[in-house]
């Protein structure tokens, strides 16, 4: 059942929220030992919330647009009294004294969280192999990664545990795992969704967004979490409020640009998928053309300067003084250094060191300021393209999901898998990945749809058309029945 169907059935009393949540918990119990999507499953809390929804229904109150829909939360979203770890040893055991804004909004919409999903430590990675608590498996092929950093959130939807989950996307951390796991993943416009309670990786790039099995479900979830939040100074106040209603508008007359630069470095099956989607949009009435935006190719370098720089500062607070891990030492400085040495994994340390380096006195202008100028170029290049096109499309990732261990020893190779997703974060623009075809080894391939700032309605319009033209699936994730996916 889709989130729409569940919410409808719960609101009308056709099915109880308790039944829906119990079934989700059963599915989790049956496969979780193998997949490891979750850092924690909050069974009791979920059942109690389901009962509260059912009570509302029986009292005739409005239980909200996501009534009884089980959802999973990336474990970098603060949940009051429930462990929030960022998949890091340094935060093991920490209980936030507050809920993230998105958590409050999901609850207000009637959604029921079933647990916190695994991620690359502090959202730094593209495979979920950087989790301190072990990797998550790709439900389509257990020898492959689910992508990352929101690997657990992508996999929990792909595995059919829950119809919706939340991830965060700093350089592709929603879209890349969505593509690898054959689900929809959305990175909204920067500032559309409040970051309050999202544990920061790179503050000027981080954005929370949904995973879903369908475009419509992802729109429904996005609608329930977006909107201005006075607790986030970067939160936008004039935002599109209705996205679901844009889905049915069709693409007739829309101008769609295919980013040609992204087709050069992608695998053949990935290129085929993008071209297939272009043809489908064209047949649906859109005007499709190729467009070269070479400036976007500089995005990766800028990203790997800006994101580590911000991260090095954001992660300073994990010092063993106020919460989380402490490894004692004879003085406070050595206590800090020992705590951080043991508490952080090697990818996090690499990025902290890289970020510290680019911000340090001798290199600031050559690297950091220069990267910020590239950021300006990327945004300008996108905006120039949007003078000609309503939306852009391209691949989400250069390849299908790769195997465990394939890139762990080569950070640079891992970083390159974010090549096509990073530019949207630098520009602050929205982008989403829609499953479209199956590629090598029968693994899913997502097509990425890009839109200008606050262009979510048109982005979803096009994503919906791509989904409608989705190529026949010869198979689905291991152990997930066909009815669960459609």
């Amino acid at each position: 059942m889709s989130a729409f169907e569940i919410a409808d059935a719960v609101r009308t009393g056709v099915i109880s929220a308790r039944t829906v949540v119990s079934r989700a918990l059963e599915r989790i119990a049956s496969q979780e030992g193998e997949l490891h999507c979750f850092n924690i499953v909050t069974r009791e809390e979920a059942l109690a919330s389901a009962d509260a929804i059912d009570a509302k229904v029986s009292r005739g109150e409005d239980p909200g647009p996501l009534a009884g829909v089980p959802v999973a939360l990336k474990d970098n979203l603060c949940t009051r009294g429930i462990p929030t770890t960022c998949s890091s040893k340094i935060l093991e055991g920490w209980l936030p004294p507050y809920d993230a804004t998105v958590v409050e909004r999901l609850r207000a919409a009637g959604a029921i969280s079933v647990g916190k999903t695994n991620l690359d430590e502090f959202a730094m990675g593209s495979s979920t192999e950087n989790s301190a608590f072990g990797p998550t498996k790709n439900p389509w092929d257990h020898s492959r990664v689910p992508g990352g950093s929101s690997g657990g959130s992508a996999a929990t939807v792909a595995a059919g545990y829950v119809p919706l989950s939340l991830g965060s996307d700093t350089g592709g951390s929603i879209r890349q795992p969505a593509s690898f796991c054959g689900v929809v993943g959305v990175k909204p416009t920067y500032g559309l969704v409040s970051r309050y309670g999202l544990i920061a990786f790179a503050s000027s790039l981080d954005q929370i967004g949904p995973f879903a099995t369908t475009v419509a479900d992802s729109a429904l979830m996005l609608e329930s979490i977006l909107g201005h939040d006075p607790r986030d100074s970067t939160s936008l106040d004039k935002v599109p409020t209705s996205i679901v209603s844009a889905l049915s508008l069709g693409v007739s007359g829309l101008r769609v640009g295919v980013i040609s630069d992204f087709l050069v470095d992608a695998d053949d099956t990935v290129v085929d998928a993008v071209r297939g989607a272009a043809v489908a949009l064209s047949s649906a009435g859109a005007k499709v053309d190729e467009v070269a935006i070479p400036e976007l190719m500089n995005g990766l370098a800028a990203y790997y300067l800006i994101a580590p720089a911000e991260a090095s500062s954001n992660l300073s607070r994990y010092d063993g003084v106020r919460y989380g891990l402490r490894v004692d030492g004879p003085d406070v400085a050595s206590m800090n250094a020992r705590t951080r040495a043991l508490g952080f994994g090697s990818e996090v340390k690499r990025r902290i060191m890289l970020g510290t380096y680019v911000l340090s006195a001798g290199y600031y202008d050559a690297y950091y300021t220069q990267a910020q100028r590239v950021r300006t170029l990327v945004a300008r290049a996108f905006n120039r393209a949007y003078e000609q096109f309503d939306v852009l499309i391209g691949p989400t990732t250069p390849s299908v999901a790769f195997g465990f261990g394939q890139k762990t020893e080569d950070p640079l190779a891992m970083y390159l898998s974010d090549l096509f997703t990073i530019p949207s974060n630098l520009a602050g623009h929205p982008a989403m990945s829609v499953p479209f075809a199956l590629g090598e080894h029968g693994l899913p391939i997502g097509v990425q749809v890009f839109a200008p700032a606050l262009g979510e309605p048109v982005m979803f319009q096009v994503a919906n058309a791509i989904e409608a033209a989705q190529q026949e699936r010869s198979r689905g994730p291991v152990g997930v029945s066909e009815s669960r996916r459609s």
Binding site: C78, S203, T356
Partner: protein, 484 residues
């Protein structure tokens, strides 16, 4: 300059951190209060908990603008940066501060002595928490461990950076004193140096007279009164001169003023490089106050101390042209500093003796400034008129003022309650005549000009009137009879 060896010139630049009197902290809604139980005014934001985000306090911005305008600065578009360094009193291990685009730039202060000190900038930043050092001698160097309280973390500060225009310890003190008055007058600060709501660091350097290039400077911290500021600068200047004269060089460093030992000492405990890795704070957006807002703040700004001193001085002088303004300047400064000028000016406007009103304010009312500011100016004026007309004596006037500060009624009510009878001129005349009759020998000596016997005769009157007669009127009465 007397303390210095001839041939040397002192250069001082001051950095003053001023806590703003907002109700809440700079980036969160926790109360900004002093002296609460540790860690009771904290929230996810000021504790730097993962996921929390800052939101700027409008009132802190407004106070910062008031300070900037009062210091003759330009209010400019500004942004916040992160200053990165590890320290346990800093919850995020970075301080949010303004770096290359501060809110206020390029102002000055005119000191009462006439010196003009440039203000480079006055920017907003957040305060740190407080550490207490436990065990050992309770000092940082020999403590067994430390305890951290984050109540102060995130309290709004304005850091005021002067240009190196100060050339003597006296001017340094005068600068801080004047700055303090301005900050208090603007309403932005309570100006309490002892409680740490005003903290002064001094950049001190020495150069040979006649050279233009500044010498290597040391930053001296931990002076918590104007007195210790002057002493610390003097000590540090002499230390540097001694080094330079013996052919050594001054090492640029931060030095700690030890009040008890009366000396500065190096803070560097080990080799640690500081590389603050400033970068624009991504969690906050730019600050660009509209011209109307700046103008509204400027218009609402109360008169500054220098203008008030000038005004008060002119008014006091207008009541008696023979007064020496210079001799009254300390009293005028005290009254303005404590915000009691209203009492004096209102009294003068009602025709009271300006010198007397000023003296009662600067000497008696000043001992209890909080209560004095709450006095009704009309009642205060009434008191001064009673005293100047001789209805009550100086001693009685002081007693009545004391009772007024206790808030126990109008001057008339207090006089009645204390039984201070008015000794009017008729009754005083009768008493004086009686005393002359009763003491003919003494009276004769008085007429011949014996000053000592005058005290005896006045004393007799005071005895008769139980000290309630006005001394000036008593003297007048005797002198009048001397001539007849």
């Amino acid at each position: 300059m007397s303390f210095l060896t001839p041939g040397w010139e002192l250069t001082v630049g001051l950095e003053v951190h001023c806590e703003l009197q907002t109700k809440t902290k700079l980036f969160c809604s926790c109360a900004n209060v002093f002296g609460e139980e540790p860690n009771t005014n904290v929230c996810p934001v000021c504790l730097g908990l993962p996921g929390s985000l800052p939101v700027l306090n409008r009132m802190a911005v407004e106070y910062a603008m008031r300070i900037g305008i009062a210091l003759n600065c330009r209010v400019e578009p500004s942004i916040f940066h992160r200053k990165n360094y590890f320290y346990p009193d800093m919850p995020k291990d970075y301080q949010v501060s303004q770096y290359d685009a501060p809110i206020n730039v390029d102002g000055f202060i005119e000191l009462p002595g006439g010196t003009r000190v440039g203000i480079e900038r006055a920017h907003l930043e957040e305060d740190t928490g407080k550490t207490s050092h436990m065990g050992g001698g309770g000092r940082i160097h020999d403590a067994d461990y430390s305890l951290v309280d984050y109540n102060r973390a995130g309290v709004p500060l304005v850091e005021i950076v002067s240009r190196p225009d100060i050339t003597s310890p006296e001017d340094a003190r005068a600068y801080v004193s004047e700055l303090r008055s301005i900050l208090v007058a603007s309403g932005a600060s309570d100006g309490r140096m002892e409680e740490g709501s005003l903290r002064v660091d001094a950049n001190v350097s020495m150069r040979r007279t006649g050279t233009s290039e500044l010498g290597t400077r040391c930053e001296v911290k931990n002076m918590n009164s104007l007195r210790s500021l002057g002493r610390a600068i003097e000590y540090e200047a002499l230390r540097q001169v001694e080094l330079l004269e013996s052919g050594d060089r001054v090492v640029q460093e931060t030095r700690h003023w030890n009040e008890n030992e009366g000396r500065t000492s190096s803070l560097r405990s080990k080799e640690e490089a500081f590389d603050y890795r400033y970068f624009p704070e991504p969690d906050l957006v730019a600050l660009d106050p509209e011209a109307e807002w700046i103008e509204a703040v400027r218009k609402a700004l109360p008169q500054m101390p220098s203008a008030r001193r000038a005004q008060l001085g002119a008014m006091v002088l207008s009541t008696d042209a023979s007064l020496d303004e210079h001799a009254l300047s300390d009293q005028i400064a005290t009254v303005v500093d404590l915000g009691l000028d209203q009492l004096v000016t209102a009294s003068i406007a009602e025709g009271a003796d300006g010198r007397l009103a000023l003296a009662r304010c600067a000497n008696e009312a000043a001992t209890r400034p909080d209560e004095a500011r709450a006095l009704d100016p009309t009642a205060f004026c009434e008191l001064i008129l009673l005293e100047s007309s001789g209805k009550i004596s100086a001693t009685q006037s002081k007693a009545v003022l004391g009772a007024m500060l206790d808030n126990s009624g109008t001057p008339a009510e207090i006089i009645a309650r204390l039984g201070f009878e008015g000794v009017d001129e008729d009754r005083l005349g009768t008493i004086v005549d009686e005393i002359i009759t009763a003491n003919p020998k003494e009276w004769q000596r008085f007429v011949e000009g014996d000053e000592k016997v005058a005290q005896f005769l006045f004393g007799q009157v005071m005895k008769q009137t139980k000290g309630q007669a006005n001394g000036k009127l008593v003297a007048q009465a005797f002198n009048a009879r001397k001539g007849s």
